[in-house]
C-alpha cells in the first residue's frame, strides 16, 4: 500500500464525483422509503432496468442522458402502478404488511434481475458517447468526462427535487403526508393520491439515475444487490426524510469508497457501503439529519 498525498487527493476528487452520483441515485429512495416509508428494496433493480432500457435506446442513436430523460415519464407511470399495487395489496390490509411487503419487493427485484438476464444475458453492457472514454486534464489530475457529466446531472437532479419538495404545493403536500397523514386528510387532501404521485416521481428519477449508472460504468443484472447497500446506506446515513442530507451522505460514501478503492483494491470497495450502513445502524440509526 503506497500512501501518498497525490493519490489521496486524487481519491478525494474522484470520491466527490462518485459521491454526488450516489446521492442522485439514492434520492428516489429518499422519497419512497425515507418519506413514504415503503420498504422499496426493489429501487436499485428498477434503476438497473432503467440502465438497460437506456442501453437499448442508445442503439437507436440516442445520447444516454437524453435517453434517461425520455424514459422518465414512462417510469413515472410505472412508479404509480407499483405503488398502487403495493397499497391495495398490503398497506391497506394492515396486518402482516411488513413481512409480506418486504417479500413482495424482494420478489419484484428478483424478477427484474432474472428478467434482465433472460433478455440480455449475464454479460456487462455499456454505452458510448462523446464524453465517455476521454478525460479532462486539470493540473496533475485526469478527471474522466463521464464522471463530470454524471456529477453535473446529479447536482441538477438533487437540487431540482429538493426545491420541488420545499417550494411547490404538491411537493410540500408530499412532505406533509410523511409527517402527519391524519392532519392532511382533515384538510381534504387524499393521502393515497399524493403518495402515488410521490412514488411516481421517485421512480421517474430512477430512470435518469439508471442512465447515469450506465454512463459511469458498465452494468450487469446483478448490480441491484450491490446498490441496495449503497442506496440504503446513503438514505439511512442522511436520516430518513432528509433530502439535503442525501447529498452530504452520498459524498461521505463516495469518498470512503474511493479511498478504499485506491488503497485496498476493487474487491473490497463494495463492502464499504454495507459496512458503513451497519455502523450507522449500530451507533446512530437516525442518521445525520434524521426526523
Amino acid at each position: 500500500m503506497i500512501f501518498s498525498l497525490d493519490l489521496l487527493s486524487e481519491a478525494l476528487i474522484f470520491g466527490v464525483l462518485l459521491g454526488s452520483f450516489y446521492a442522485a441515485v439514492s434520492i428516489g429512495l429518499s422519497v419512497s422509503f425515507g418519506l413514504l416509508d415503503v420498504p422499496h428494496v426493489a429501487h436499485p433493480a428498477v434503476m438497473v432496468l432503467g440502465s438497460y432500457l437506456t442501453y437499448v435506446l442508445t442503439t437507436y442513436g440516442l445520447d444516454p442522458i437524453a435517453a434517461g430523460v425520455v424514459l422518465m415519464p414512462a417510469f413515472f407511470v410505472l412508479g404509480v402502478l407499483i405503488y398502487r399495487f403495493y397499497y391495495e395489496s398490503f398497506e391497506r390490509r394492515g396486518t402482516d404488511a411488513g413481512v409480506r411487503g418486504l417479500a413482495f419487493f424482494f420478489g419484484l427485484a428478483f424478477i427484474i434481475e432474472i428478467g434482465l438476464i433472460l433478455v440480455f444475458g449475464v454479460d456487462q453492457r455499456s454505452v458510448s458517447a462523446r464524453y465517455i472514454g476521454s478525460s479532462l486534464a486539470l493540473g496533475d489530475y485526469r478527471i474522466p468526462y463521464r464522471m463530470l457529466v454524471a456529477f453535473g446531472v446529479a447536482l441538477v437532479l438533487t437540487f431540482a427535487l429538493t426545491l420541488y419538495l420545499s417550494k411547490t404545493f404538491t411537493g410540500r403536500a408530499i412532505k406533509a403526508v410523511a409527517q402527519d397523514e391524519p392532519a392532511l386528510r382533515l384538510m381534504g387532501a387524499n393521502p393515497v393520491r399524493i403518495k402515488q404521485w410521490a412514488f411516481g416521481i421517485a421512480t421517474g428519477v430512477s430512470a435518469l439515475a439508471g442512465a447515469m449508472l450506465i454512463v459511469v460504468g458498465p452494468v450487469e443484472p446483478a448490480m441491484d444487490r450491490l446498490y441496495i447497500g449503497r442506496t440504503f446506506c446513503v438514505v439511512v446515513l442522511a436520516g430518513l426524510g432528509s433530502m439535503t442530507g442525501t447529498l452530504a451522505a452520498g459524498l461521505i460514501l463516495g469518498v470512503a469508497e474511493s479511498i478504499v478503492l485506491m488503497f485496498l483494491g476493487a474487491s473490497w470497495a463494495p463492502a464499504v457501503a454495507f459496512g458503513l450502513l451497519l455502523v450507522v445502524l449500530g451507533i446512530r440509526p437516525q442518521g445525520l439529519f434524521g426526523r
Binding site: 417479500a103 420478489g107 473490497w268
Partner: protein, 310 residues
C-alpha cells in the same frame, strides 16, 4: 408421542431406502429437496413466527459449508463434528447480525442480511486457504459403512437434519417461546408491554435459525468434493428459503415443508424440461403471486377449502 414415532419411522425408512438398489438420481434429487426443507424450516422460525425477513439465507448456508471445509482441512474432522461446528459458527453469525439490527425495524434486519451475504462472499473470495474465487477440491475419506456412495449416505444425513429442523421448529412453535414470537409478530409494542422480552426472543430465533441453515450447508462440500463462493452464496438459496415458507404457509411448521417439497419438485421439473434461468424466474413469480393473493400460503388455502366444504 405420535410425532416421535413418526420421526423414528421416517428415519428408519430413509436408511432402508439408502441401502436398497434404487436409481442414484433419486438420492441426488432427494438430497436437494431435503436441504431446502431444512433451509425453509429454519427461515420460518424467524421469518414466519416472529416476522423478521432474512434475505441472506445463502450467507448462513455458505458459512456452514466453509466452516465444514476449514474443520476438515485443518483437523481432518469427521462429518458429525463438521456439522456441529457449522451450526455453531452460523448460529454465532445469526446472533451477531441480530444483536446489531434486531432492535431496529424489520427492513434494516433484512438489509443487514444482504450486507452480510455480500461481505462474507468477498471474504471467501479473497481467502486462499479455502480456495478463493476458484474454489477448493477436497479429498474425501472413504464412505462410512454400510452405505455404497456419498450420495446415499448424505441423503440419510440430510434426512436426519430435516427431522431435527422440523422438531426444533415444532418445539418452538408449541412452546411459550412460540407464543411470544407470535405476539411480537402481531404487535411488537403490545408484546413488550405484555411482559415479552422481545429482543431476547428475537435473538434466540435468529440464532437458532442461523445455526440450522449452517448445518444444512455443512454436507455440501463432502457431497461435491468441492467448494467455491459463487455457488455456495447463490441467490437461489436466499430466494427459495423465503419463497418456500411464504408459499407453503408460515403459521405452522408443516408450511415450509409443503413449500419446500412443492417448490423444489417444480424446480427440478422446470430445470430439466425448460431451463435453469426460467426455473429461478418461476420461483420469483410464484413468490410474488402467493404473497399478494394467498398470504397464508397453501396451508391457508387448504384451511379455507376445508371450512367452505363443511
Amino acid at each position: 408421542m405420535k410425532y416421535w414415532i413418526t420421526v423414528a419411522v421416517v428415519l428408519i425408512v430413509a436408511v432402508v431406502v439408502a441401502l436398497v438398489p434404487v436409481n442414484e438420481y433419486f438420492f441426488y434429487a432427494a438430497f436437494v429437496v431435503l436441504q431446502f426443507v431444512v433451509l425453509a424450516t429454519a427461515w420460518n422460525i424467524l421469518g414466519g413466527y416472529a416476522g423478521y425477513v432474512n434475505f441472506g439465507t445463502g450467507a448462513f448456508f455458505a458459512i456452514g459449508a466453509y466452516s465444514a471445509v476449514v474443520l476438515f482441512k485443518w483437523l481432518g474432522a469427521p462429518l458429525g463434528v463438521q456439522i456441529l461446528a457449522a451450526a455453531g459458527v452460523s448460529g454465532l453469525l445469526g446472533f451477531g447480525v441480530g444483536l446489531l439490527t434486531l432492535r431496529l425495524r424489520g427492513i434494516f434486519f433484512a438489509i443487514a442480511t444482504v450486507a452480510v451475504t455480500f461481505m462474507l462472499e468477498t471474504v471467501m473470495v479473497n481467502w486462499r486457504y479455502v480456495g478463493g474465487a476458484t474454489g477448493l477440491q477436497l479429498l474425501r475419506p472413504p464412505v462410512t459403512e454400510p452405505f455404497d456412495s456419498y450420495t446415499r449416505m448424505l441423503f440419510v444425513v440430510m434426512a436426519l437434519l430435516a427431522l431435527v429442523a422440523i422438531s426444533v421448529a415444532r418445539y418452538v412453535q408449541d412452546s411459550w417461546i412460540g407464543r411470544g414470537l407470535r405476539a411480537i409478530r402481531d404487535s411488537e409494542e403490545a408484546a413488550e408491554c405484555s411482559g415479552v422480552p422481545t429482543l431476547k426472543l428475537k435473538l434466540f430465533a435468529c440464532t437458532v435459525s442461523g445455526a440450522l441453515m449452517g448445518a444444512a450447508g455443512a454436507p455440501m462440500p463432502m457431497y461435491l468434493s468441492f467448494i467455491e463462493p459463487a455457488s455456495s452464496f447463490s441467490l437461489n438459496y436466499s430466494v427459495s428459503a423465503l419463497a418456500m415458507p411464504m408459499i407453503g404457509g408460515t403459521a405452522h411448521w408443516i408450511g415450509p415443508v409443503i413449500g419446500a417439497l412443492l417448490l423444489a419438485s417444480i424446480q427440478q421439473i422446470v430445470t430439466v424440461t425448460i431451463s435453469n434461468e426460467i426455473n429461478v424466474l418461476v420461483v420469483g413469480v410464484l413468490l410474488v403471486l402467493f404473497v399478494v393473493a394467498a398470504p397464508d400460503g397453501v396451508l391457508g388455502l387448504f384451511k379455507r377449502w376445508l371450512r367452505s366444504s363443511r
